[in-house]
Point group: C6
Chain length 71, copies 6
């Protein structure tokens, strides 16, 4: 794990867009947990998700399988 930001990658920028537009996403984890919420911030290691009750969950990117817009 290195501390340099991966801001140049398309996937990083797509997540930044999601943060700006504020749309809800589904986050499927390798634990098979399915989290729903809005992405608040990200860094190289983590994503912060906020649910309907304004509760923030810090999700480790290493545990993410996929992310898609909530339908």
């Amino acid at each position: 794990m290195t501390a340099e930001l991966e801001t140049g990658l398309p996937s990083f920028r797509q997540l930044q867009k999601l943060i700006q537009t504020g749309g809800e996403v589904e986050l499927k984890l390798v634990t098979n947990d399915l989290l729903v919420g809005k992405v608040r911030w990200q860094d190289d290691l983590c994503i912060c998700l906020m649910d309907h009750y304004d509760q923030q969950t810090i999700v480790w990117k290493q545990a993410i399988a996929f992310l898609k817009p909530k339908t």
Copy 2:
């Protein structure tokens, strides 16, 4: 995780070919999820898959077990 593109690797180029030809693929994840769609873009960390309903899913490469053409 480093931000340098792995464009020189055969696996990266094979994925680029799939993006260009636009064929459908099956993506098996370590969660045992099976995703089907067309590969739209990739970077070192992620692959973007588009399904029949034009919904885009960002898949973390770390969670991919294997990929094959849909038969």
Copy 3:
């Protein structure tokens, strides 16, 4: 694994805040274990969690799926 501290990352600083405020958290692991306690210290590889009985558990960050305040 490198030994340099990732103190500059938002996720690292958020954890530092949790250490200072001393609030209880839920830690979901990739094993699907759910640990509850207060975060005592962290480094790049591990988090130390203290439960109600003052027992300390060293959790490897590689095994963390997500963390959220206990509700």
Copy 4:
């Protein structure tokens, strides 16, 4: 993930031998999938497996548990 080829490692060379001899292998994945086929090419991140129907599957090395000759 770095893009430098690990061609110097015994495991890499063993796989190269398997590519040349063309023998069938069993590939056990961390998903518990068992794939059977001939290894066509490899790079640092992936192995390409061809089955009886000439279908190619790109397998991420990160998802491989073990490989052995098909008996």
Copy 5:
């Protein structure tokens, strides 16, 4: 994986203390195995655990979820 020792990290030093005090620990793995024993040595990749029958088990750190004193 790099060969440099991570001796400067708190988690590494905590494990060194456990080696010196010789107390028994529980080691939960990502396989959900629970191992019990005394930590004999560690390096960046592995921990060596000795059980009641003086049998040594080499545990890969990559497979550790958490460690706590046996109660």
Copy 6:
């Protein structure tokens, strides 16, 4: 993944000893597979295990949970 040998680490040397003494080991994988055999060679990424029928299995170290002498 880097190609430099980790020959200086205790865990690497312990495996070298096992190769020289030729004793049988049990290898528990993160798939929960349990493999039994003699360690023939290792590099940074893999271990080669030979079973009673002289069949060789290449095991990715990334998939190893623990290793202990067969009892």
